[in-house]
Amino acid sequence: MFDLEKAISDWLRGLRKSPGFEDGDIEEIEDHIREEIEHQQLNGLTFKEAFNRATSSFGPLNSIGEEMTISRTKHLKISHKYSLELEFPESKNPFINSTAMFKNYIILSIRYLSRNKVFSAVNILGLAIGMATCLAIMQYVHFEMSYDTFHENGDDIYRVTLKGKSHHASNHPGTGPALKDHLPEVKEYARVVHQSTFTQRQISAWSHIDKNNDVKIFNEERVYNADPSFLTMFSFPFIYGDPQTAFLDVNSLVISESVSRKFFGLNNPIGETLIRDGTRLFTITGVFKDVPENSHIKFDILYCYFLKDAWGGGWDSSWDWEWPEYYTYIQLDPQTNIENLEAKFPNIVKQYLGDWTEQMNTQMSFHLQPLKDIHLKSPKMKKEREVHGSIKTVYFLVTIAVFILIIAWINYINLSTAKSIERAREVGFRKVAGASKKQLILQFLLESTMVNLVAILIAFIIFLFSLPYFNQLAGIKVSSVNLYSEAWFWIALGLTLILGSFLAGIYPAFVLSSFKVISVLKGKHFSSSGGILFRKLLVGFQFMISVALIAGTWMVFKQVSYMRNKDLGYCKDQILVVISPVVFDSTSFSKLQVFVNELKRYPSINSIAPSSEIPGKWIPTLNGIRNVGEDVSENTVCHYISTNHEFVNTYGLKIIAGRNFRENEFSRFSKDGITKVLVNKKTTKNLGFKNPEESVNEHILFQSGTTDWKGEIIGVVNNYHQRSLKEDYDALMFFSWQWAIPYISINLNTADIHNSNKYIEDLYKQTFPENQYEYFFQDDYFDAQYASDKQFGKVFGVFSLLAIFVASLGLFGLTTYMISRRTKEIAIRKVLGATVQQLLLLFSKDFIRLIIVANIIALPIVYYFGKNWLNNFSFRINIGWITFILPLIILLVITMVTISIQTIKTSMINPADTLKHE
């Protein structure tokens, strides 16, 4: 018996299953069918006949469903096509068309992306990491570029540097006044010079005594003397006081907000007194906001010794041109032509320094350096107090960021085109439905824009969360810069989005949109060999970048650890350095003697040496020495160290010829006498001795102040690394004095370091109650020289890791897809007896080939840049074979692991399950 209701509901179920019909349609059609059946029954047909008639006259569900879909998606397009023969322009409305189309594209893209989770995740995550890296680096670059941009007159301020045998950042004190006198373009000059130039000590002790006679003492290092004009030429804003008048008096002092807080809390300190090194009184006339991190010169305390009165009625002109320690800035008229101005310098140099250069048979020249270039574009100069950034590092980081982004874009291109075969049918249908190639390209571009947009949002989140870590990594203290208020940041961000969407989207869009309808719909399998080659090229490129980064990271790591572990020629591991008291008076030397004698009795202390210098620093005293009988032009430069006979023992130096100083044997400077000195091997070489032995007991002439003195070499110590391994050995000369300040180096038994340190501290505080106890360990002090290299290594390492991670993501996506396409093939091969190893080889063959080729291409590039970088170091590693093998191994492991997981997973499936579907 025919059941009409069941027949209808069956038929409707079929309808529901066929594509194109939605809920409303089905109800409407049900109504239609029922009415037709009723109508046919009235004509005398049976239930069954009526049902059959009604459904057959309804027509083929496939094509109606398609039309339904089209009516929903492309309704206007189709109607346009239908009235093609009779088209008249008045019946068109392009606006409805484009917005509806757009909305539809977005829906399609969302559907596609949410249906292909792995694909979307790989793309979005990769892009997000790439973009987050870019953001982090952008803000780093922004910070580096923001140096000295906050000065109102910044564009007109230049630093005048001095070039002789070497390039100095500082200049003669007379340079500023002379330039202003002779050149109308120079509106103002300002000189600033560190306190150590006058006191020979890096730090000074500042004390304040309040009404209750309570004393506060702090040691300060960032203390400079400055011209009054310094306060007005630059824009360091004042909290209290007036920059115009702060330096009217010689005893004026301006301090930073932080220093003011330390002494006075939140009170206004104007008019208060601070005492330097327990002797000199200053009155506070101004408090400036802390110098921002992005200033090339950083200071906490300024005073104005330059005022002529400070020297007791008139400037002593002999100082003007013989003491090139003063950083000299000039403010120019905005219209000045710099080249023309610099052309006038040689005459001024000749006028003031002519005699001297002639006598020394040397050249001197002044150079202008724009204020804003000082931080990033300074050439290697002596006498810089701050460590400057390097434009090369900036470029380098930008390059890495771009590389990571490119890797992520390549992932997108690769995965999208690889997946295109799956989408061929979609494209085919849409083409049949009347979509033009242009529309399809537009849609795929929209899809890539959406992926990029989501990625950028995630990137922002990653960026915000990782910013503190990144800043720590890159050594940025960003407090004074606001990235988000910069228009260029948003432009760059927008550009990244547009470029990413377009660059990564355009190729897949073209590939996808150019499928031929007929072959696609017929179900032909196709793959263009050109497309596969292109994909391989892209993957190869990713491998190349990875190889370069791995090899680079390895080299940086090896060089840094080489520098930290190489034998320096002295023992740095068991030496504690104590700073001798800053507040010094006539009794200090005898107190020091008592202090040292006490210490020597302590069992864990092996030896103690006071000295003017210690290893790990650039020695500022640099003078000329020569053999007796030679002309002054034969001078060779040498650094002087004042110490005593204990220095050699304490630092474990090796005497290779002659002898050490004896106890109580001191170098005496006298006009007729001979000063006994110790030199190092480098100095004997500079003096022209064939070997150190030859130099022993030889007489030399050495300069100190403006005088030549006669010296006798009593012994030669072996070369040791006075400075980091970036630098060559320095030429050194040692004097023996009863006392040398400020360093007291104490050689300890390492086993008892904690107790020893405690003992030394207590004794120090007891002996010098008015001083702060300051100490450090020699090895830390020396290693501090590598801070920037270590940091570079870390930054390099982290970014390499990120890049490799993003590339691995892409590899993962690509292999996942590749193997999923070949699931059946794997099943058949397994049925035919293939082992997992054979399958692995089959799938990894192509990738291994690519990795090897990428290595071959990338390594010469790595070698070239690596060699270049290593040339910065006087003592450096060889680029060993590991550098070339390591990237290969790492990439092979990553690739094999990725492919193995996929292959094994797939080959574990029972072939029957895979194959029974067809």
Binding site: D31, R34, F58, P60, E67, S71, I78, S79, S91
Partner: protein
């Protein structure tokens, strides 16, 4: 006479609009009306009408509403909109224009 597919597709729109100008109606009845008028000379499967209706609705030429009719069956009624009337007017002009051109070309006498 059987019309070509293209012609049929092109004529559905003015036909549906014309039928709906006579008054609100639902799918089945509209098809019946078309069959009735064309006397079977225009023939397509019944179902093909629905996509066209939906399209016209999307384009704003017709509107629809669900009405619960006899036997508690939900039925979707269509009605012509103002835009639909204007569109029909434009279609009419086009068709008349085309008709005039073809009449001239084929030198047909208007039959009664």
């Amino acid at each position: 006479m059987m019309a070509s597919k293209g012609l049929m597709a092109a004529t559905t729109k003015p036909m549906i609009l014309s039928i709906l100008q006579e008054g609100k109606n639902y799918g089945y009845k509209i098809i019946q009306r078309v069959k009735e008028i064309s006397g079977g000379s225009l023939h397509w499967s019944d179902g093909m009408l629905y996509p066209v209706l939906h399209r016209l609705e999307k384009e704003g030429f017709i509107s629809s509403e669900w009405i619960i009719g006899d036997l508690d069956r939900k039925r979707k009624y269509y009605a012509i909109t103002e835009a639909g009337k204007a569109e029909l007017h434009a279609e009419k002009e086009s068709w008349m224009k085309a008709h005039a051109i073809l009449t001239q070309l084929w030198d047909l006498k208007p039959s009664i």
